[in-house]
Subunit: 357 residues, 3 copies
């Protein structure tokens, strides 16, 4: 992946001052970029570096007026930061999607269709009756069970496991070690104290534009015909537990190590912090914000709440209570002191009253 | 897997009303089942659907009297729900155990024996001196280290790792990403502030009928000859941490993301909720129930307790304390108010007393 | 791996009483060791077993005087426990490093160099432009992405994933299922409520002598040129989350299921207990000790503190507050009682005062 400065300027609709033929193969920071790299200058604090940078090109605001001689090539644009972000995204996409073709040995089952421009890494396993869209990247050691479908432009990183029957949308990214469709945790107690597994025959549906971090687990639904559903645009971090029959609403974001218990429905646009635990069979309203390590034991009916604690309640109230919690030994002492005083006063008052008689 | 209605009715010891020759290949719900599927009717609320269902067969109670014409075939049984559950179990077992034979490439070491009717998926790795029973299913990308033994009818899903020497019983199911026998976390502090690894030479023993979820980790014991032991019938959910030398008693159930620290002995028939943490070197009595996110820092000696909180104590007492916690700012205000009043009264009383003199 | 007692005595600089030619292939405990095993006697409580042990050799203190006849061979040393520990370490090292050579099929990319005495297990995948030192052990199903470097004497257990570009030092051990270099969790909110992934272009650097447990995740840094850094001698347990741009100082120890959020810098020689959560963008001073399940929401500036709770504060103060928390319903009752009394006294005093007028 190498572009000329001319090509990049074209992409950014920018104007060039300097040598547009030089080649760029990497992005960098203005203060330590090297030859072959492109950097940007947005914050005036960093202006000093533009006069010494080794970068082959720097993206600057179009009204930028150098105060000294400049040896690097400039690309003048409306908004240098946005332009650089655009390059970052292009670069990232290029990196992620650069692998194509089939590395051997890899395994593919019967009645399975794979779209155009896909990558199937060595030791990847794709079962029978699988449908895979275009431009899908299946990294080494990925397991895709029978009957799975995967939409276009989706990436499954190394060691991802997708159990039979799961449906994964387009533009999804699943990071390494993530498991989709393992059995829900359902066991029926028997009279002798043992447990019998309740067969887990449901499914997992992951809609489009969903990102899932590393080593996260999403269990399948219990009953045939039901599904654990991750709606469009949901972003899940690493090491998250999503139990059977859970539903996560559109554009909800969940941080690492949070866990959602069985059959709970999380609304849209929730922000759920790290290590949060949500009990089973609850409904969480849209736009709920749940603080780190909170434990949710009741449904949240009103939208837009910010809660924390175990069990969780309003975040401001929690911190007020917690402020007193930290002073509880003092509170206890003051109460004891007061009890003594009141007991004493009481005696005096009693004496007074008796004395009056 | 396709059965005639006659075959299914035979399995359920039910009586047929309709065409017993039609073929069934799937289970479904009465309200949305399709041709080729079988459903059940137990709850009268759903009776309406039996007159319109597309299911090829419906399991009903033997005294069921249709009030309208029915086009589906009926299987009449004593208890439709139990019968359907039985089918679910059979179906699930059939699905889970349907794979047999060896997919290539797969790796098998020396002096290793594999029983009859096993499945060894592509890219599965089985080391030297391994003993594998009958009807064991080793999915793709499973790693089984040297000297491991695995009993009959056990399933290891894709990407399970079993370190050298571990012993796994019969009728166990290990879900994807689970790691058995990784090193215990033991490090000896050195004088220079660094740590030296204490060699972990012990083992893991998993008894019969144990289920383990996805991405759970069970460390080996520290000393040679010792073992981390998961007793018969234990059910572990996803993303659980079981440290070195832990012992989990028979029929104990542990929910996702809980963690048990080194050398702790958990009793039988415990119910341990999600995200619970148990410190090391403790003993937890039988029939203990531990609430979500609880932290256990002391041994639980009395059986049958229900505890929660950090550190955990009786669940009812915890919630009573927590109810007051939520009102702590108010309590604080009331205490301050009272202090003022008492101070005031005190002054008045003092004046009174002094006035009396 | 088999040694004569003579060879072992030479290694331990010990003196032999008995047959030095017998062969040892395993370590054991004196009370249940078998022929071919070596045990030790340090604690006098266990002396009885030396007269009956089946062990082929026992390591004893050099001034040990048997009170009965002994059939096993003795190795006399200064400190039997240290000598046995030394053997344990040697044995462990021998076990861990015994695998060498290449098992097929395995995958290796272009421009990749692998040092001497390495092991590359079947189904291991090593990408392009990778540099691997001497005596490195790459177990089956390991994925090493393009451009990764790995120092000497490092072990990657089965199913470890290392994303492109990560740098791993010498004498490191990474347990199964661990993921190095997955994308940081960074998403920019868009006007329509959706989120757009912020490209994660940074790196992970793991210095020498770092141990990482099973199923732990370390995300890469966000910007190109930045890195998530795990410094020398750090020990990480299982199922830990290390977010993008985190830095963990030298010789810090982190227990299972803890999570460190993005851009936080943890100091040196910290001891962080299980299930701890640390918020993002914080600085934690050296020698901080953080209790289990604590939540850290502010930087810790003073070194050597011991903290717990959520949010965490001094561990002693926490337990004092918690002791009162457990009695909060009682406190509440006492406060109410007192309010009544004061109200009553108040009335009496008021009457008195009024009566005096």
């Amino acid at each position: 992946m190498e572009f000329t400065i001319n090509q990049i300027a074209g992409m950014l609709k920018g104007e060039i001052q300097g040598n547009g033929l030089e080649k760029i193969n990497m992005l960098g920071k203005i203060q330590d970029a090297k030859k072959g790299q492109i950097a940007f200058l947005a914050n005036p604090k960093y202006e000093q570096y533009i006069y010494t940078t080794q970068a082959s090109a720097v993206i600057v605001k179009k009204d930028f007026l150098p105060r000294k001689e400049i040896s690097t090539t400039l690309i003048l644009v409306e908004d240098p930061y946005s332009s650089f972000t655009l390059l970052l995204e292009e670069y990232h996409r290029a990196i992620n999607f650069q692998k194509t073709g089939i590395e051997e040995p890899s395994f593919i089952g019967k009645n399975t269709s794979v779209g155009g421009n896909c990558y199937r890494g060595a030791f990847s396993y794709i079962g029978n009756n699988v449908t895979i869209g275009d431009n899908v990247k299946i990294y080494p050691h990925v397991y895709v069970g029978d009957g799975v479908s995967i939409g276009n432009n989706t990436i499954l990183h190394s060691n991802v496991t997708v159990y039979a029957g799961a449906k994964i949308g387009s533009h999804c990214e699943l990071h390494s070690g993530t498991v989709i469709g393992s059995d829900g945790f359902g066991f029926a107690p028997q009279e002798d104290g043992s447990y019998k597994a309740i067969p887990q025959l449901g499914n997992v549906i992951i809609e489009d534009h969903v990102s899932i971090g590393a080593n996260t687990v999403i269990d399948c639904a219990t009953l045939y015909g039901d599904a654990t559903i991750i709606h469009k645009g949901v972003k899940l971090d690493n090491l998250i537990q999503i139990a059977h029959n859970v539903e996560i609403g559109k554009n909800t974001v969940i941080a690492a190590q949070a866990g959602i218990s069985g059959s709970t429905k999380v609304g849209e646009s929730n922000i759920i912090a790290g290590q949060v635990g949500i009990a089973g069979h609850l409904v969480i309203a849209n736009n709920t914000s749940i603080g780190a390590q909170a434990g949710i034991s009741k449904s949240i009916k009103e939208e837009g709440q910010r809660i924390i604690g175990y069990p969780a309640f309003d975040v401001k109230d929690y911190f007020k209570s917690y402020a007193v919690f930290k002073r509880l030994p003092d509170l206890n002492d003051r109460l004891r002191e007061l009890e003594k005083k009141v007991h004493q006063n009481n005696s005096i008052v009693q004496e007074e009253v008796e004395g009056d008689e």
